[in-house]
Point group: C5
Chain length 366, copies 5
């Protein structure tokens, strides 16, 4: 009861359909037949406008609310493509879509729509996006920059995403290393050290795994751009707008070198994360064996203590026999007390030694 | 004794054979030779008709029973292709087959045969299929939709399958997280918490694995469509029916973008499942080390208790010696009771301390 | 001391060599030089004929003994190719070789040589092969079948192999699930349940791994056929025999669809096996943690019992002091017995409580 | 708060921009708009010159400080490319960049810029780089060498990197094997051996993982060169400088064979590391099971000792009954002492035996 | 301090350099500059000749000592290529190099240089090589063999390597299975069985891993030959020597089928090893859980024994109270002894039962 057939239905409609028809069709079509299809949940009004910041080449920043259908119509995009920048779809994979008139970018928290003449920044109240805005604007205003408008926007996003990822790693790394240090130092006898280290490690390891996953998806998105010559030459929006021609499929040196550079940076992060995760795994593994080894030593100790207990109990039992109110015949012997006391201690010693020798003979103990 | 040579035999017969011959041939051919081949089990009557719902472009829904052989003959399909939509073959892999006159679709529980002018929905009493029917019908009736009939059908199926998968994940996720929370909170001393968490986790982990497997197979099926340009251009059934021509191998933009979009959605689910499974693995791992660490602490405690037991037993043994009915020579000493009692306590203390010091000296205990 | 240089030597001889020379050459060539190469073991007589069943298109089945060299000469095959169907080479990988005049098939236990006009079935006394024979014969006699002779033979083999694999999975699956059920139900205190479950599971898991490996190799063999257009068009032996021409490299629709269909079936089995193995792994993992958790609970119990033992021993020791034959000064006090008895019980209680409180204060116990 | 937007900003500027503009732009562009973008941290002055050693073909070595922007301008490189040789970017992946006028090489600790007529060695005070310098110079001076200047430089770097990696492996290998030997020999009863072995192993395993990671990245960098014919033919800087022409894409035999050779060497190291890591994993695994097995033997021993304790305690209890100051009626019997003493020992024996038989009957003990 | 810059320096020199210059250059070049580069270790004299056996087509075998530089000059090979057959480079990866005038083969222990008219067998005193020599000679003398000289040599090497690998597997397999059998049979209570099984298994598992690694590298080497059409057609040395022409890139059927055949054999070994390693892993895993399960059963037993100890101690304590030299008031009661004795036994029973019932009520014990 949480799926959205309506919006998905609409998502494949190309923008040649009028926006009003997009909205009205879903219930309308149900009315043509006998009974409307049972919606899986109350449909989210597809007409809810998305909050966005519009940045123009002259640096004007204006808050706007846009209808996905309007945007799709204006830029000849599929509604499905716009789903990528819709923050209500939380689970969308990161992707950089090259469409004839626009770049649709979704990387980590950044959702941007870039055309040759403006940038639409969605979900503008997200802290990461709010922090990006001034930097993006500065980059767009940088007239001396050799790259065209849309690529400056893309680069600003890539810089931000790479920095964000690196900061996240830099934030987690010392914490993880501290937890590992605690574990590797105090792993001996299972004191509070290991437990505290593990308590700290569990959420960190989860976060590392999460981060590794999302960095991997960013890597995939960048790689997919590099894999497709068509997509890369399609990204020259300003050139296409200026010349009105199609660009040759192999003319994409600038974009390729740019994306490749950031891919290398992401790769370095992937490597760093992998190293950290392997260090965690190794430390956990070794800690477990150390706990096992020290446990055996504790148990071996207990064997000695138990043996001691049996010995002392034997001595006590021996003494107890002479404590019985029965006639042993040596009640009056003045040395009997000392002899029997000594014998009692001897019993303890004999039991202890003989069992130990038996164990050693049987090679159970070294 | 559970294999079906007969139906498999027939499955490679192309539809140019008449249905009756298909049925009669298997025993007939056996009659030509000396003795018929021993069938591995009583053959399932290949002529059992399959229950199906037929949906026409005008929205008419009618329950039908179709013979696989008839359908194969009519649409020039292989009987083997129809096996894919036959619900009696439970273990068939998900697949989207593009055949010249029809799409044969089997994804999770949905088994559909789509032609340019009608849709056959098999296994119509399955809850998932029953729920799909009205939505599929509504989509097919949607005349304003820019996509042709067969693609609307395909998209309705894809929407449904993606939603179903997402709902399943959404159903399992909170339960898994609750179980993990229980385990990570109460993992300390192996109380009921961990055990209950594990009891809850085992079936959930099984279900996650199962789901990950079947989502992976859906992913493979979608990917196979995208890998083959021929298959994608073959899918324009209406266009081919209308023009009577072959479609160019590269003219498949609509279908490619559609399938790609749903592949992305499935990818996001795959990622989500992977994350969940990694979280389970990590928590299990850490829980195990925590249990190990707390076990060592319990055992260390036991060493102290055992040492205490040995000490007390030594004191009791010492007292027991003076309980012997022998002459110690101090029977009449008025202070002897207190001295010996104190000595007895001293014995306990000395044993406790000296063993502890020995252990510390030997660095067995910190 | 178990390698066969001689037969391997011969295995690369093409069939233009006469069979007699093949046999005599290996020792002969050694005679040309000074001393013959030390054979790694007594050479198996390369002339031992292989037992085979010959099936002709008219259904005649005749037992024969064939020399590999004769067959290689007749069909212009490499001796090395025939090694594939020689049952004395137990470790050969499954493979389907397309040679100009014959198909050499080795899948699981089936070793067949198929030409346009006859089928040679090797190792005919193997139960799996004996069971295949009548079904293969029936399929070959099926004149109404649209496929040519050699493909009917191939399909009969594929049907049989797929069925065999599926039956093996169907045989193992319930046993594995039963063992897992036993383990997951009785995993609590390490009773006989887990041990019995494991005793049952170990050979089953071995068998699953074995099966997964051999199914994977069948998968590889089928996939290799599909990878090579030349091999597939080479397989039309009847067509080539009838026309005497080479077949176009892309004219292999029937064989491709057939092999693809069986590859899909094998894939489904691979998926099923993977699922089963993952379930085993998961259950083992969870069982281990459950055993760990319940062990901690048992150990915690032991701490209480040990504490009880120390307490009781303390009380006994206290009582033992008054059992000494020394003057405590209260020997004649009529209430002393009850006071001291009570004090003794009090000692036990105090020891028990204070140690427990100490542990709780130290947060060692919850 | 640790990311560097400024330098990254600049890093995509191509060298057609003047170096001064590069430096001034970042704050300048912020001044055009309303407020400058909040820098993530105080920008590192992008104009800090890099220390470098310049080696000319005549062997002259001179220490220099170069501005990245100057170099980029002179060689028409991207600033982003120079980032690779900037030692302040610690996390950059190893890479060999082929640019029209220069090779930019970063492998492990070596950061070099090679043109047709000089070599710039960055981070010259790093020990590894300092050790490389004389060898690199000697190689460059080797006029009889058939390879051109830039390839001699590249080869000197590759030789050094391969040697460095091999030496690191050679340094770690004996230590790891010693630690494994300690663990596998003394793994029996969890003595200090295992713990010490693990204490030594943990940092070694970390170092191995680290090394395996960085060797893998070197492997990737070499492989990327081999993957691109363009890059390899671009590397003939001297030839291009001499002829002024573009080199044919396939004319790169010397460089291909050279890089291939060193890739093989790196592969051998990768294999060696993998083997070492597998040996560590295997030994850890087996050690853990050995500790488990010996723990069970210790615990079994404890069962016997506990049984002994119960038996002796029973005997003591029996004797204690006759020590009560109550009338047993046999106080005067001269043989009672011996009878009861014997009975007491008998009680111990009976308890011991009967419990043991019960356990064997219940098949709890073998 | 173990790297060899000198020999590596020389290794890239093509054979156009005279051998004497090769030797003298390394120190000579150091003399041109100011100070020679610090060699990492005393250079191994690059002029040390390699021991080799030369086999000519007429079967003459002669021991020779060859200079790498002479060979390189004569055959126009790189010195780097000859490194592959130099037994002092122990860590080189297995490889089959196809050079215009020679095949350079290094597989496992065999290092051979094959030209159209002779075979040089390096490291001739290695047992594996010594065993190969007569077989190689016999194969080369085999004039009736349809393959040319160089391929007979290659095939003799491949036969030998495959046999060697198979024998190694055949040697390890029964030992591994015996160790696994011991472990799976006696895994119950951690007797000597498991420990002995593990002691035997650890080196075997190491050897299996080692073998799997080196077989994998042989597989890679064979596969690399099959991947390159140029390499395979380059291998027809005799044909090229006879015709003096270049061979067409696709004319390499014989070599392809030969290498493919041996690749299949290596694959079968890889599969066999993988199966064995999985069996080891599975058995280890299951053994660990069995040890865990039986440990829980032992511990449960200990709980009962501890409970027994507490009960008996309680009884003893009770009896001890009446052993005190205090007035209980029933000293003279003739039945008191029996009553108190019975009560004492009753105390033991009550303690035992009540604690057990408490545990069951708390569901701690089943």
């Amino acid at each position: 009861a949480s799926c959205d057939p309506a919006s998905t239905t609409a998502s494949t409609t190309t923008a040649t359909a009028t926006p009003s028809s997009t909205t009205s069709r879903s219930p309308g079509s149900g009315g043509v037949g006998s009974s409307p299809p049972p919606p899986r949940r109350p449909e989210p009004p597809a007409t809810i406008p998305l909050a966005a910041l519009e940045i123009l080449p002259d640096g004007t920043v204006s808050a706007r609310h846009v209808q996905k259908a309007d945007v799709a119509l204006e830029l000849s995009l599929n509604l499905r493509d716009l789903r990528v920048v819709d923050p209500t779809f939380r689970n969308e994979s990161p992707v950089i879509l090259a469409r004839p008139t626009a770049l649709v970018i979704h990387l980590v928290h950044v959702r941007v729509l870039v055309t040759a003449s403006r940038v639409l920044l969605f979900d503008p109240h997200h802290p990461a996006v709010a922090a990006l805005t001034p930097r993006l604007r500065a980059r767009l205003l940088d007239a001396a920059h050799p790259l065209p408008f849309e690529m400056r926007a893309l680069e600003a996003v890539l810089v931000d995403v790479c920095c964000g990822i690196r900061e996240e790693v830099a934030r987690l790394k010392p914490k993880v290393q501290a937890a590992l240090h605690v574990m590797s130092k105090e792993g001996e006898f299972g004191g509070h050290g290991v437990t505290e280290g593990l308590d700290a490690l569990l959420p960190l390891e989860m976060a590392l795994n999460e981060l590794a996953g999302s960095v991997g998806m960013v890597r995939t998105a960048l790689n997919e751009v590099l894999m497709s010559d068509e997509d890369m030459s399609d990204m020259y929006l300003s050139w296409k707008a200026a010349t009105g021609e199609e660009r040759g499929v192999d003319e994409h040196d600038e974009i390729e070198m740019m994306v490749e550079g950031y891919l290398k940076q992401v790769d370095a992060v992937v490597y760093d994360l992998g190293r950290l995760l392997r260090a965690v795994k190794t430390t956990e593994n070794v800690t477990q064996i150390r706990l096992d080894a020290s446990r055996n030593r504790i148990l071996r100790l207990e064997v000695f203590l138990n043996l001691g207990a049996v010995s002392v109990a034997s001595a006590a039992c021996f003494a107890g026999l002479f404590g019985m109110n029965l006639l042993s015949g040596i009640e009056e012997d003045p040395y009997a007390f000392w002899v029997v006391s000594g014998a009692s201690a001897g019993v303890a010693l004999v039991v202890f030694r003989s069992v130990l020798m038996y164990l050693r003979w049987k090679r159970i103990f070294s």
